[in-house]
């Protein structure tokens, strides 16, 4: 039964990908990308990887769809006609694909318990993490403690992406004149948005601080909180949104999150441990792990929130500028 669901979802994924390739209307392509992300999120749920599914749904289907729509507002809706011949690319793709398929023949069978993935570090995490860290959600233990250095790198990547986008596009000036955003007449939309936005922020906080016990954590929470402010900006206009969350404040937040994360690491080696070794943060190692994980998850949440919202501000400000011209 599970295999059947997987097959149907994978089939739908393939059809969506093919439509994305052949469609010329970029607006529809963006919508199909959102669909693609939701389908892969469903596959992840089916594989019991709820945390990954959560991230995929929040980032892939939520934020990136909005950002791509923001890009479309700048570039236009139609794909340019391509005059190149497709023969050489087709040849390259066929050879690469054949090599990849040939490579999979050597892979160990899918889901077999003797696979290297299930032999190397996973058994140690599963056996030791309840004693060493004691969090019910083992994914958070691995992500925030055993692999804390990797996650620090990921947070820095998010931060660097935001810096890159902002240095290209620039932030909006806070508190400009409120231009009619075209949504003034959408009374129902405004009322429901007012109802939904506080709930979304509350949910983001729940995801942030419940990440130790269930699926969730800093990445998802940051994206959800950013989505709440983006919804506000879409419905009530960008100038009002920049009144609520100032662009300069976002710059500080984005740097602060990475600083909190890296600072936790530095603190731990001033207390006599290794970099990002939370055992030394409290007299009891398990308590120290809990403190460390909550602090760095908070840092991740802040950076992701500021980066996502900053990128959206950048795109929206650019679109507004071109509209005025």
């Amino acid at each position: 039964m599970v295999e059947l669901i997987d097959l149907v979802l994978l089939g739908m994924l393939a059809i969506t990908a093919l439509r994305v390739i052949f469609l010329k209307d970029l607006f529809a392509v963006v919508m199909l990308f959102g669909l693609y992300s939701f389908l892969s999120a469903l596959i992840f749920v089916n594989l019991d990887a709820v945390d990954v599914a959560f991230t995929e749904a929040a980032v892939g289907a939520g934020i990136s769809t909005v950002l791509m729509l923001g890009t479309l507002a700048l570039t236009g809706r139609k794909e340019k006609a391509n005059n190149h011949t497709a023969l050489l690319p087709l040849l390259v793709v066929i050879i690469t694909g054949a090599a990849l398929i040939y490579g999979t023949l050597d892979m160990p069978p899918f889901g077999h318990p003797d696979n290297p993935a299930h032999q190397h570090v996973a058994p140690r995490y599963i056996e030791e993490s309840p004693k060493e860290i004691g969090l019910p959600n083992m994914v958070t233990s691995v992500l925030a403690s055993y692999r804390a250095f990797d996650t620090l790198g990921e947070t820095a990547v998010v931060f660097a992406a935001a810096i890159g986008v902002l240095s290209l596009l620039g932030m909006p000036k806070p508190g400009g004149v409120a231009i009619d955003s075209g949504l003034k007449s959408h009374l129902v939309l405004r009322v429901v948005a007012k109802l939904v936005i506080p709930m979304t922020i509350l949910f983001a906080l729940y995801v942030q601080f419940h990440g130790d016990y269930g699926p969730g954590g800093g990445f998802q929470a940051g994206v959800i909180a950013a989505a709440a402010v983006i919804l506000y900006a879409l419905v009530f206009g960008l100038p009002l949104a920049t009144h609520v969350v100032r662009p300069n404040f976002l710059k500080v937040l984005a740097a602060l999150g990475v600083l909190i994360y890296a600072g936790t690491g530095v603190t731990s080696f001033f207390l006599g441990g290794n970099f990002l070794d939370y055992n030394v943060l409290a007299s009891d190692p398990v308590v120290g792990q809990h403190i460390g994980i909550i602090v760095i998850e908070f840092g991740i949440g802040i950076t992701v929130f500021a980066a996502m919202l900053g990128i959206f501000y950048g795109f929206a400000a650019q679109a507004e500028r071109t509209n005025i011209q």
Partner: protein, 108 residues
Amino acid sequence: MILEVISTILLILGAFFSLTGAIGLFRFPDFFTRVHAASVTDSIATILIITGLILRTDFDLVAVKLLFILIFLLLTSPTASHALAKSARHGGLLTLAEIRESKKGDND
């Protein structure tokens, strides 16, 4: 036992309305009728399916979470359909009846 039967009936009805919504989305002639078909899936099918799922839980935290999801979807999906139809209207899209009317006017 009775709960399970009721829940099965609700789930099947929900699946049926989802299916009719999907068929309508493909078969209906213009934008507004299609939005209408899609919003049927959003509202009545959601109520039926999630109520059916709630009846299958032990009425614990899972049921409460499902109830939250139901309330959230009931708030947002009809709003989305409404915003879609209204934007199309503002963009100048006419319904089928209005197109027929204007054609009649041209012939006279």
